[in-house]
Symmetry: C2
Subunit: 338 residues, 2 copies
DNA sequence: AATTACTGAGAAACCGTTTTCTCATTGCAT
DNA sequence: ATGCAATGAGAAAACGGTTTCTCAGTAATT
């Protein structure tokens, strides 16, 4: 438990205090502490030592005012419930603190006016840039962020084609999943997934189909679109198991479906993974780890995605070149027992 | 879709520009725009009009520097995965934006050094106050926030006894749940809940027992402690249904358990809600709404809790009196079909 | 007519840093 | 000795606002 009790003392130490104590001007003090300007190394060291002794911490506000750089960015999200956004946000926060950058959190639901209010507040507070994040990669936030005086990065939400957008590589993740099933010796592979109006559903289904058509040894038993629910899993298994030829490997659109599939198979006396191998998607630990057997699944590395989004924004703020368009970040296969 | 394209134009308008355009000094301009100082109403109106025409937006940094008030607070969380924190954070963000206050998001996991870094960064940025939030009401954040030069409020995490802490009223929520079961005409009520080392488990179990011992018509069939899993639900139902006298109402420690209970009962041919009524806890919509029948459950109003936390902090910052100790915010019973 | 009270507005200081000049001093080569 | 470049440090002007104080002018009172 870190103690921060040094701040108990009353008034903040300013650079004037440091300068006075070190018997130099504030100009010299500032330069010494920022390793800029020219002065005797001895002077620089002395000033730094004094600053340390006095517990000097520069006032960010004052610094930002002159530097015209606030080391602050805004994070706009329309997700106040889901479980995908939190890791992304955490990744952003963690990735940026290393650069001394703080993050303004703005939760806007789908309220366009609220979003506008937040953006204005952020701009008033002189953010260096903005990150937009959401819950679906095929829906934009309820506010147009183009034409702002600061750069914008989109993470896990739809952005404009000329912007920088970071998304998980659903196709690669799905491909890994199917490859794993094949590597496990599975030959008849089906895909049970969610509603067809989700973009991720298509991406994953497409990659699954491609992978299977390229595979010489394995056969594609088809894709079943439904909903993100265990109920749907039961229906889907009902359908698949009423056919004569049954799959021995199932790739599921998410962990919830996978969980339902495992349960449905158990009810039928089909053993997982002996008779059928299952791979989920999301690595939603509360589901994946609790399933018996624990689910093999695909992790979207959302925290890393957030971190990358933060770093990309910092690069943009610094005027460095950043490739426009959609960046697909790799997913990882988490092998458990299913 | 709100358009913010007005910012496309190059340079920001400062109060100097407004003053010049209105042919007054910056002092007068400032006073006019802040409705402070003394001047002819006509002058005030004219300056405001000019400011509006020019699209003047005061630079928050500059303002904060003199006012010694940044209209910014820090939000510290150790939750980067769970589903409880996000609504709390959203509530905080939404509650504070109305006061012109922005929120710094700091995700610290259980890393004490990282937490300290974040706190220092926030203090450097002159936050007016800090909100600590987490995933469990019985675990504190990995950093000591007492003795800071700014006020602190704790929401959904353990705080010091002399601080301000906001928590859901688990007891009241549990009592509502049991009251509902009794009102439904249930007479033999059991409680199936999670691990006994969670404080919320005890709170809810205690309230449940109290409610039942006070009820003349209903009988307490006991509490079963287990884990937060559907697996445990099946076990618990196995246990309860192996006794001669079976419950006709079950209050579950969370929705996941409730979901498992509904499923386990269905497998036994017991109808919900005809034979047995079920009430869950959390109103975890993805589970509660998907269950067949949809779960009646207790909502902790986490967003409102976040909002209240934000408002409490603002009051502290303003030097207004705020009652120390733990504030329990009411839960709401969400009646669905179970 | 002289004094007093009030009104409206501006000058200047300030918040805490950074940064651009300026300048005295020193060391070195001519 | 003289000129010149390099060095070390400070004065002052930003940054964009707010606030205190001053003061000229007008209105009201004696």
């Amino acid at each position: 438990m870190a103690s921060l009790s040094s701040w108990v003392s009353s008034e903040r130490v300013t650079i004037y205090d440091v300068a006075k104590a070190a018997r130099v001007s504030t100009a010299t003090a500032s330069k010494a502490l920022n390793d800029s300007g020219r002065m005797a190394q001895e002077t620089r060291d002395r000033i730094k030592r004094v600053a340390l002794e006095l517990g000097f911490r520069p006032n960010s506000l004052a610094r930002s005012l002159t530097r015209k750089r606030s080391f602050t960015v805004g994070l706009l999200t329309n997700d106040t419930y889901g479980r995908f956004t939190l890791p992304v946000m955490a990744g952003i926060s963690e990735g940026l603190i290393d650069h001394g950058v703080s993050v303004f959190l703005c939760a806007v639901e789908d309220n366009s006016d609220l979003a506008k209010t937040h953006v204005e507040a952020m701009l008033d507070k002189q953010v260096d840039g903005i990150i937009a994040t959401g819950k679906r990669i095929d829906k934009p936030l309820p506010v147009d962020l183009s034409g702002l005086p600061v750069p914008v990065v989109y993470a896990l939400t739809a952005g404009p084609s000329d912007g920088v957008t970071l998304l998980p590589d659903d196709r690669q993740g799905a491909a890994e999943a199917v490859r794993h099933l094949i590597a496990q010796g599975r030959r008849r592979i089906a895909h049970i997934t969610g509603p067809s109006d989700f973009k991720v559903v298509h991406e994953r289904a497409l990659a699954c189909a491609e992978m299977l058509s390229a595979a010489t040894r394995a056969k594609d038993m088809g894709t079943l679109f439904g909903s993100w629910s265990e109920r749907w899993s039961h229906q889907a298994i009902e359908t698949l198991w009423s056919a004569s030829e049954k799959p021995d490997g199932i790739f599921c659109g998410n962990d919830q479906i996978a969980r339902g599939v495992v349960d449905a198979l158990r009810e039928r006396g089909v053993s997982v993974p002996r008779d059928v191998s299952i791979v989920g998607f999301d690595n939603w630990e509360i589901v994946a780890k609790e399933t018996r057997p624990p689910l093999t699944t695909v992790d979207m590395n959302l925290k890393e995605l957030g971190r990358q989004a933060g770093l990309a924004l910092v690069r943009l703020v610094n005027g460095e070149a950043v490739e426009k368009g959609v960046w697909k970040l790799p997913c990882s296969l988490i092998v458990r027992s299913s």
